[in-house]
């Protein structure tokens, strides 16, 4: 039994157990204050980080945070841990792990080989003693490539989810935002709609509508309706052309139960989507969304800090080989992430931890109007994440989601970050953008200054 304590000068600081140590070591955020697990002083926080740095990585295999007997996520983490992959880092403390991750000899290939040996708790722990730049540097070394109708996550590329939400799911309203996005070069990660009316017939309508557009214009991308997994399974059973299965997931069995899911249900959904064989260049069929605070929000956090709970959700995601994982970082509100500073830190943590665990992480760089955040904070996080090699971000007209009432990154924002960092879309989608004359052929991300001919007919019919 390791001692969860640390001595600075004459004072020895005691921490009750491993989850207490992790929580106290977590950079300040409102959700941990709300849960009553945060450090009681700034000094205590740093002392906890010092204690954490001395902890062997093995401790996370010996001391689970949520009981093994009652939590299937803990069982998943422990039972499917790859001891062989872990061997390369098994001798390290958390502090040494940070140094090892930053070391030049730890290349993309090394990180990919070790990923199955890293548990969510190890990733969360090391992130707590890393600065933002550390997480950016290491995440950039991690490459996670997935594919369905195009290939996402390649070096030097950034994809976008086109999010054409409409408050009443009006087909032409959705199509208008979708076309606007395409004409700005967005949509290679997925066309993803959050439905306003959440029932099976509506899901089938929206899936069919997007499938028709993808087919008619031969767009190398995939569609998804962000509805409950049981609705998607029902839609597949009724013959709907489903590309990706969506589900929100969290890091404890109890939190997932509050979402109405468990691992078996997710496995059933993945099998159903795979059976349709709709992918052309790959078979990653799952789209997961996560976000710090969801376990606490469901009162299912068991005293574990919100960032560690979040990392545990990635164990769930990893089991089902997703095409996309999206941390919706600023959506939950200021009681979990109070301001731009906390949102930015959380976005970088989520991206880093997920990449370290081998997941195709993207980020909904976003905020609500009751958070102390604004467009400048989003510019900062977008630029930092794109620098870190984030797989995808959202694209929405003018940053304003008129259905969900929050702000996320716009079509214009994606072009800004392409220009600044030279990040290209997924290769298949980029070829389509050039072939349709939406983009110029020179990888300078220049847009057609009029209407690309491919959509001329559709617009002329409206005139």
């Amino acid at each position: 039994m390791p001692q969860f304590s640390h001595t600075v000068g004459p004072i020895t600081h005691q921490f009750a157990d491993l989850k207490d140590l992790l929580a106290k070591a977590t950079p300040l955020r409102s959700g941990d204050l709300l849960a009553g697990v945060a450090a009681q002083s700034t000094e205590q926080r740093v002392v906890a980080q010092m204690a954490l740095a001395e902890l062997p990585l093995r401790a996370f295999l010996d001391h689970v945070l949520v009981p093994y007997e009652t939590d299937e996520i803990t069982r998943l983490i422990i039972d499917e841990h790859d001891a062989h992959a872990f061997a390369a880092i098994s001798h390290l403390t958390v502090g040494d792990f940070r140094n090892w991750l930053l070391n030049d000899a730890t290349t993309s290939d090394v990180l990919a080989a070790v990923a199955p040996g890293i548990t969510p708790e190890m990733a969360a722990a090391v992130s707590k003693i890393m600065r933002n730049q550390d997480m950016i540097l290491v995440a950039k070394k991690c490459r996670v490539v997935t594919a369905f109708r195009d290939t996402i996550g390649l070096e030097g590329r950034l994809a976008t989810r086109l999010q054409p939400n409409h408050p009443t799911d009006d087909a032409s309203g959705i199509a208008a935002s979708l076309l606007d996005g395409l004409l700005y070069g967005c949509g290679d990660a997925v066309f993803g709609i959050n439905p306003a009316t959440d029932n099976v017939p509506q899901v089938i309508n929206l899936v069919s509508m997007m499938a028709e557009i993808i087919s008619r214009y031969q767009i190398p991308t995939q569609s998804c309706v962000l509805t409950h997994v049981t609705n998607t399974i029902a839609a597949i059973e009724r013959g709907a052309p489903v590309d990706l299965v969506f589900q929100s997931i969290a890091g404890t069995e109890a939190a997932n139960r509050s979402f109405g899911i468990d691992l078996a249900l997710l496995g059933e959904a993945r099998s159903a989507a795979l059976s349709l064989q709709r992918g052309t260049v790959g078979d990653n069929v799952m789209y997961f969304e996560t976000g710090q605070g969801s376990a606490l929000s469901a009162n299912a956090h068991f005293g574990v800090d919100q960032q560690t709970c979040e990392a545990r959700a990635y164990a769930v995601a990893r089991k089902f080989k997703p095409l996309l994982v999206n941390t919706v970082v600023g959506f939950i509100g200021p009681e979990y992430l109070y301001d731009g500073k906390q949102i930015i830190r959380a976005g970088l943590e989520d991206h880093f931890c997920a990449k370290l665990l081998g997941l195709p992480m993207g980020c909904d760089v976003c905020y609500t109007n009751h958070a102390e955040a604004d467009q400048n904070d989003m510019d900062n996080l977008l630029t930092l994440l794109a620098t870190a090699g984030c797989n995808f971000v959202m694209g929405i007209p003018g940053s304003d989601d008129i259905m969900l009432n929050y702000q996320t990154t716009s079509f214009h924002d994606a072009l800004y970050v392409r220009r600044v960092l030279g990040l290209r879309p997924a290769p298949e989608f980029e070829a389509w953008l050039q072939q349709t004359q939406i983009f110029s052929n020179d990888a300078l991300f220049r847009l057609h200054d009029g209407l690309p001919p491919v959509f001329g007919d559709a617009l002329r019919r409206l005139a």
């Binding site: 032409s172 069919s208 109007n369 209407l451």
Partner: protein, 284 residues
């Protein structure tokens, strides 16, 4: 001679490239066809966004004029206004409120004692009580609470329900209505609350209904009607839906998930079938 379609026209003449698909704005209030300066947002839509955000931010931080609201409710003759209560949640101020949703769900001790004292005098019980809380937009309450309640009364007056004194709660969240409702001894409580402001809707009001309200109820035990405002769900429609839910709740003695499904089904019947999966992009 073919010109390069990707090369901007004379930037001295106009540094903004308009989008020739502005006709699509007829289909959505989304910020589409904004045009671009280079690849960036032109100045006009950039500042229009900033204004909308500023209005939404101001709505979050606007203080509820509870006394003024109380007077308006009395002037409008809303039942329960005469002996209405002004209460405060356990969240002392807006900054605390934003970070401690648990405190916004409970009455402050002084308000709790005051309400206990006010209801101790008799053992009156009620069929329904209305709790008006600022929530995340006092603007929503200031704009919508009185005219909506007036519209609703026209619909429910004939039902003969015993209506409890109105309660106005500062720094309140939805669940504070459960505590107020239980202290007032009302079988149904309806919370009118300012919703999280969106950029295009800083004054949306939500309605939450609980049967046999008590502290500690879960969200799944409530029904909700959202986006009540002249530019969203009109008062008449919201009053129709609420009356339906209240009547059903009285008959079936419950609120929550079981009730929700059937009311939703009912509403579908009222609206024309949505165009299925066709849009202008994929005509038949």
């Amino acid at each position: 001679m073919m010109s390069d379609p990707f090369c901007e026209k004379d930037p001295l003449a106009s540094p903004v490239t308009d989008n020739p698909w502005q006709t699509l704005r007829r289909f959505t209030s989304a910020r589409i066809a904004l045009g671009r300066a280079g690849v960036s947002l032109p100045t006009q839509p950039q500042l229009a966004f900033q204004l909308a955000h500023a209005q939404a931010r101001d709505a979050v931080h606007l203080a509820l004029d509870a006394e003024g609201l109380q007077q308006q409710l009395r002037d409008a003759g809303i039942p329960g206004a005469a002996d209405s209560h002004i209460l405060h949640s356990a969240a002392a101020d807006r900054l605390t409120y934003l970070q401690r949703p648990d405190w916004g769900r409970r009455l402050g001790e002084a308000s709790r004692q005051a309400l206990l004292a006010a209801t101790a005098a008799d053992d009156a019980a009620y069929d329904i009580g209305f709790v008006i809380a600022d929530g995340l937009s006092a603007l929503a309450i200031a704009n919508n609470a009185v005219p909506f309640l007036a519209t609703l009364q026209q619909r429910i007056a004939a039902r003969g329900w015993r209506q409890a004194p109105l309660a106005i709660v500062r720094q309140g969240r939805v669940a504070v209505g459960d505590e107020v409702g239980s202290l007032l001894r009302t079988r149904l409580v309806v919370v009118l609350i300012g919703e999280r402001p969106g950029l295009s809707s800083p004054d949306s009001m939500g309605l939450y209904i609980s049967w046999m309200p008590r502290v500690g109820m879960s969200d799944a035990e409530r029904n909700c009607i959202s986006n009540v405002r002249p530019g969203g769900m009109r008062y008449e429609e919201a009053a129709y839906r609420l009356d339906y839910l209240l009547t059903e709740a009285q008959q079936r003695q419950l609120t929550g998930v079981q009730l929700k499904d059937e009311s939703a089904h009912q509403v579908v019947l009222d609206t024309p079938a949505a165009p299925a999966s066709l849009s202008f992009l994929t005509p038949p």
